[in-house]
């Protein structure tokens, strides 16, 4: 465990911050721009995983295991969430025969 902590600390904290912000932004832009729903769900996962990376880095720098426990909770909840999301997608596929965002156009102001 201590080896891993020191291995993580080899890279400066700022680099982890920048990397995870980059990943987060890529995920965010992807979720807003892409039209294929499967890719949008992948982008959402990317956002969550960038947070995981950040938490592990902070956890190593603070020498506090709490952050790594949080990572497990996030992975678990993300799995539950994506299960629900994909099953809703299957339901929509059955009713409309497509996985493109443009089918989401029945509710408008």
């Amino acid at each position: 465990m201590e080896n891993v902590m020191t291995a993580i600390r080899v890279v400066p904290l700022e680099h982890y911050l920048i990397l995870s912000f980059l990943l987060f932004s890529i995920g965010m832009v992807g979720a807003l721009v892409r039209r294929n729903i499967i890719i949008v769900i992948m982008c959402l996962e990317l956002m969550l995983n960038s947070v995981n990376l950040l938490l592990v880095a902070f956890s190593a720098y603070h020498s506090d295991p709490g952050g790594q426990v949080m990572v497990f909770f996030i992975m678990l909840v993300a799995a539950a969430e994506v299960t629900v999301g994909l099953s809703i997608l299957v339901l929509m596929k059955r009713n409309t025969d497509g996985v493109d965002m443009n089918i989401l156009n029945r509710l408008k102001w």
């Binding site: 965010m28 902070f58 709490g66 989401l104």
Partner: protein, 459 residues
């Protein structure tokens, strides 16, 4: 703790009963369990309970909110048998998912640790994604469910980013550590500002504050009405309570005050102005709920964090506001379902036409609830808004409060569009079919709104 376990076990029990295909027992058992939970919460009123290694604290604020949430769920469950009378299957699952979601609400109103904030929000939301799509063959329901899922997970990612940054700042998920850090080290740190910004963004999504409100009208319109009631009431209360828990520790350090002011102004303006041109009643209620979350944010804005004694006043106002709002919304949506059935599934505002001629008492109930939402004196909605404005004056946000008063006046207009329909004579006679239980629930909502308006000290 026992109430949390009771509700979770109750949900599993309801799910199990659904296997036997007997719908008629589900709601009574659910109501009994919920009443038991109220009793358990009430018995813990005088002592603060710390659970799960101090991650959850049941104090008076959270117990008050929890009892209010359970009470509204009881009203929704009483409406259930009639609403699901023609549904063939999956009824037990929907009751059970609502109970699971309620457990998330309990966590959200009583967390003292950011980990529990995240879990609470997710336990609250994931059942709701499914519930919004409960009408499996309706495309609109599917779409509502999927939109809610996409924007919900999106906001969760923001919330998590905020939590991670705050963790990086203090090295702990405990809210008290965060509060002490702000008190000692000041509020100039970038990590703190960004962390709070992301966390507040995530929570504002759940409350439906502008500019994070886009899901609300679509989801309210597409979801089954019973689920819409649950989202508009219990979820709104839980999100408000969760927001308050955070703000009550951090206060308004650094940029947060400016961000919150912008949120309040945008939410009040957009919610009230767009509601003016809504003709679909469900969308109208969605924009009304956005407008109300603007007033709730205004109350949250006045919280000064760890300053002793001030947080209780804000917490009490929030409880009173959300509870009375939820009562009026529940009653109105039940009346909406009755009117929708009488008009062959139309959702336009004018389905209420002729209600006064056919059922005078129900029309008067609807009038009381609409007046309460609009904030006319002698109803609870007026006292709620009045208390929020008092808090805002006390904290020195005079201009924001003035804007709030203006928007409250604007809001009266669109509620009166519905009030007018109640008393208009219909072109051809309409028959409203009301079951005795629905009549009772609507009457309870309307009378409670009036009683709480005359004697606000009851809460």
């Amino acid at each position: 703790m026992s109430a949390l376990i009771l509700i979770s076990v109750l949900a599993v029990l309801v799910l199990y009963l659904g296997l036997f295909g007997n719908k008629s027992w589900l709601a009574p058992i659910g109501v009994l369990g919920l009443l038991g939970a109220i009793a358990l919460f009430a018995s813990g009123w005088h002592i603060d309970h710390h659970l799960m290694g101090g991650m959850v604290k049941f104090d008076r604020f959270s117990i008050g909110f929890n009892i209010a949430m359970v009470a509204i769920t009881v009203l929704i469950f009483l409406f259930g048998p009639d609403y699901y009378a023609r549904a063939k299957d999956n009824v037990a699952e929907q009751y059970a998912l609502m109970l699971f979601s309620l457990v998330g609400g309990f966590l959200l109103s009583s967390y003292t640790n950011l980990l529990m904030l995240f879990l609470g929000i997710e336990v609250l939301s994931i059942p709701l994604y499914i519930l919004a799509g409960a009408k499996k063959n309706s495309l609109r329901s599917n779409e509502a469910s999927f939109k809610y899922f996409l924007l919900g997970s999106f906001s969760t990612a923001f919330l998590l980013m905020g939590i991670a940054l705050l963790y990086g700042l203090t090295g702990s998920f405990e809210l008290t550590v965060l509060g002490e850090h702000i008190a000692n080290a000041g509020s100039s740190d970038m990590l703190l500002n960004f962390g709070l910004f992301f966390t507040v963004t995530g929570l504002a999504f759940k409350m439906g504050a502008v500019p994070f409100h886009f899901w609300k009208p679509d989801v309210y319109q597409g979801a089954p009405t019973l689920v819409t009631i649950f989202m508009a009431t219990v979820v709104m209360m839980a999100a408000t309570a969760g927001f308050f828990r955070l703000i009550d520790v951090t206060g308004m350090p650094g940029m947060l005050a400016q961000i919150m002011v912008l949120l309040v102004l945008a939410t009040l303006l957009v919610g009230n102005v767009i509601a003016l041109r809504q003709t679909n009643f469900k969308r109208l209620m969605a924009y009304s709920s956005i407008a109300h979350s603007g007033f709730l944010l205004l109350a949250l804005l006045t919280d000064e964090g760890l300053v002793e004694g001030h947080g209780t006043a804000v917490g009490r106002t929030l409880l009173y506001y959300t509870f009375t709002y939820s009562l009026a919304t529940t009653g109105l949506f039940i009346l909406f379902t009755i009117a929708k059935r009488a008009n062959n599934g139309a959702e336009h505002n004018d389905i209420f036409r002729g209600l006064f001629a056919a059922k005078p008492w129900l029309a008067l109930c609807a009038l009381a609830m609409l007046l309460s939402l609009a904030g006319i004196p002698l109803t609870a909605g007026f006292i709620a808004k009045y208390q929020v404005f008092l808090l805002a004056i006390g904290a020195g946000w005079l201009k924001v409060m003035g804007f709030g008063v203006l928007m409250a006046l604007l809001g009266i207009y669109y509620y009166f569009m519905v009030v007018r329909e109640l008393f208009v004579r219909p072109d051809q006679p309409v028959t409203f079919v009301v079951s005795p239980l629905n009549w009772l629930v609507v009457s309870v909502c309307a009378v409670a709104v009036l009683v709480l308006g005359v004697w606000p000290s009851l809460i």
